[in-house]
């Protein structure tokens, strides 16, 4: 995990102290944990609803009951959120790159 031989070791404290890093970290964690809470709740709501109520047992389209529609929704949600994550993460990558550049400018000054 060591840096290159001809470079000084990375000063992690200095990066952690950067305003831009703090902001990125805060926004990123907020996004990740909010979405995680949401998809876990939506997911666990299915067995809760099917175990304690009958509302998803009713027919929706033809003989297809609402549990299947809800399940289809979970598939769509998984793929949708996976791609949402990627597009968010790509923009976080750019910010992280800018942070490293900011740090390197500071070191080489």
């Amino acid at each position: 995990m060591a840096g290159n031989q001809n470079q000084p070791p990375i000063d992690y404290d200095k990066i952690a102290e950067l305003q831009s890093f703090k902001q990125l970290s805060k926004r990123k964690n907020k996004f990740l944990w909010t979405l995680t809470a949401i998809f876990l709740i939506i997911y666990l709501l299915l067995p809760i609803l099917t175990s304690f109520t009958e509302i998803l047992h009713q027919k929706a389209i033809g003989e297809i009951t609402w549990v299947w529609i809800y399940s289809a929704g979970l598939f769509v949600m998984t793929w949708g959120l996976a791609h949402l994550y990627v597009s968010k993460a790509n923009s976080y990558d750019k910010e992280a790159k800018a942070i490293i550049e900011e740090y390197e400018r500071g070191v080489n000054k």
């Binding site: 995990m1 060591a2 840096g3 290159n4 990375i10 992690y12 404290d13 990066i15 952690a16 890093f21 990125l24 970290s25 990123k28 964690n29 990740l32 979405l35 995680t36 998809f39 876990l40 997911y43 666990l44 299915l46 067995p47 809760i48 099917t50 175990s51 304690f52 998803l56 047992h57 389209i61 033809g62 003989e63 297809i64 009951t65 549990v67 299947w68 399940s71 979970l74 598939f75 949600m77 998984t78 793929w79 959120l81 996976a82 791609h83 994550y85 990627v86 993460a89 990558d93 992280a96 942070i99 490293i100």
Partner: protein, 514 residues
């Protein structure tokens, strides 16, 4: 056993051995052995993750469960899929940015203590063994049925093959066996699903309406409740499924085979699409088996329903498709157990031998030798255990592995990445509380105790009603880590800042040459 089946089995064996021979010439360092040199592309690793993940429990188990219990079987598909969001959102990228070969590496990036590494290695090995026994028992039963050989011979055959792959080809061979298996499995599943749909005139509505009369359950077949009648127990099982994946050592290990967090990210996207499509198709496998094979024939072949998919293939596509699907099932098992051996060996040889006993003072050559010896040890232990575990229920063993992974590994992973105050004592207590509570709760559960003789391992009343204790043991794992942390005064904020910066920016990975 037809000639076609023998030819297809031999083709799988021949192809995988050729890959192993090719991979063996590219495996000279420890990094080659454990991570294929970290050089896999996103799509390759995505396919390999799918190949690692879609085990016999998914292919044979879920198809059988849906065939026999309707929607209740489909719960597994949902849990196993949504689990990928947990992997993607919370675990994949920080893990790639912090770790080297194993989960213990990642936790040790923050807490460099022998007891932390040792506990992490221990819980990894326990999970791997449970998972592997499940796969080997399933494999033994399946091959016994298909080839007409004895159970012990079937287990030895699979055990021998997996040891060869890992021993000579390391992660490179394992990855390519998994990639090919994923393609074959998808091909087989798509063909069967197409044939099932054709039977229903390519109309989903027709399929559902015919399913209301196809089984003796009638309308109830299309709703939950045929098998899982206890709400809390159902929720508990679904908790284990969704949180367990992010703690499974052989899945986590796959993220070290790519060069950076971006590639780890794209491999999860690939995997999410592939396993997602597969899990959609499990509906057709299950419904098809229920409608065109029938409950009686399925149960007659195997009480748990594991033969539903191969039998369906036979009903729709004759001997050729049956042989093909059986060969695919064989490849499926081989690919999963090879990944398991490798992750067990990494915990044993890299964590326990290399880092703890030898204190990282091992040459490259010694590391590779240790990795190979570790692979043999893990293989032999699991083969011996599997030979004695023939009567255990496969689905139970797999769900137990998921439960331990969710309880012992996930809390410590999350705390390590996201909690500043977390410390060495907390890391150890989190893992031990999760591991022990999961094991103890299962030991007193209805899986192990049943008042009726022959229904479980022991005769007697279970102490708890939960068949899967995740709803209790996962919170206990988090609680154990929290209490352990607060009871110890130790904090090291500078170290956390380092871990946080590394996890979020990947700055250290870019320096590491693979």
């Amino acid at each position: 056993m037809s000639v076609t089946a023998v030819v297809m089995f031999l083709a799988i064996v021949g192809l995988t051995l050729a890959i192993t021979w090719w991979a063996s010439r590219r495996t000279s360092t420890a990094s080659d052995f454990y991570t294929a040199g970290g050089g896999l592309k996103g799509w390759q690793n995505g396919l390999a993750i799918s190949g690692d993940y879609l085990s016999a429990a998914s292919f044979l188990g879920i198809a059988g469960s849906i065939a026999l219990t309707g929607f209740d079987g489909f719960f597994f598909s949902l849990g196993y899929l949504v689990a990928y969001l947990v992997v993607l959102y919370i675990v994949a990228e920080p893990l790639r940015n912090l770790g080297k070969f194993t989960l213990a590496d990642m936790i040790s990036a923050r807490f460099d203590a022998k007891k932390v590494r040792g506990t992490a290695a221990l819980s990894s090995i326990v999970i791997v063994l449970f998972y592997m026994i499940a796969q080997l028992v399933g494999a033994g039963a399946l091959i016994q049925l298909l080839l007409g050989i004895d159970y012990w011979m079937a287990v030895l055959l699979v055990g021998f093959m997996m040891t060869i792959y890992v021993l000579f080809g390391g992660m490179t061979a394992t990855s390519w066996v998994q990639i090919i298996k994923a393609c074959l499995l998808m091909l087989g599943t798509v063909i069967i699903s197409f044939l099932v749909l054709a039977k229903f005139d390519f109309n989903i509505l027709t399929m559902f309406s015919e399913m209301t009369t196809a089984t003796d359950a009638g309308q109830a077949y299309l709703n939950p409740g045929l098998k899982y009648t206890n709400g809390i127990d159902t929720i508990s099982m679904l908790v284990a499924l969704v949180l367990g994946t992010a703690g499974l050592p052989h899945i986590l290990m796959r993220f070290f085979t790519v060069k950076d967090a971006q590639t780890a990210r794209s491999s999860v996207i690939w995997a999410t699409w592939i396993v997602g499509i597969f899990y959609v198709l499990t509906i057709f496998l299950g419904f098809g088996a229920a409608a065109f094979v029938g409950k009686e024939t399925i149960v007659e072949a195997n009480a748990a329903g594991n033969m539903a998919a191969p039998l369906l293939a036979q009903a729709l596509g004759g001997d050729i498709l049956f042989s093909f699907v059986c060969a695919v099932a064989f490849a499926t098992i081989l690919a999963v157990v090879a990944g398991l051996v490798l992750s067990g060996a990494s915990a044993l040889s890299h964590d326990i031998y290399g880092q703890i006993i030898k204190k990282d003072k091992v040459t490259e050559k010694e590391q590779v030798v240790a990795a190979r010896v570790g692979s043999i040890i893990i293989s032999v232990i699991s083969i011996v255990l599997a030979l004695g575990a023939q009567t255990l229920n496969v689905a139970f063993l797999v769900s137990l592995a998921f439960c331990i992974a969710a309880s012992a590994n996930l809390p410590v992973i999350i705390y390590t990445i996201y909690w500043k105050r977390f410390n060495t004592a907390g890391a150890v207590t989190a893992m031990l509380t999760g591991l022990i509570s999961a094991l103890v709760l299962v030991a007193v559960s209805p899986n192990v105790w049943n008042p009726e003789a022959g229904k479980a391992i022991f005769v007697g009343d279970p102490l708890i009603f939960l068949t899967n204790p995740a709803i209790v043991s996962v919170p206990l794992g988090f609680l154990g880590g929290w209490i352990g942390t607060l009871l110890s005064k130790e904090t090291d904020e500078a170290k956390y800042r380092e871990v946080d910066v590394k996890a979020q920016t990947g700055i250290s990975v870019q320096d590491v040459s693979h």
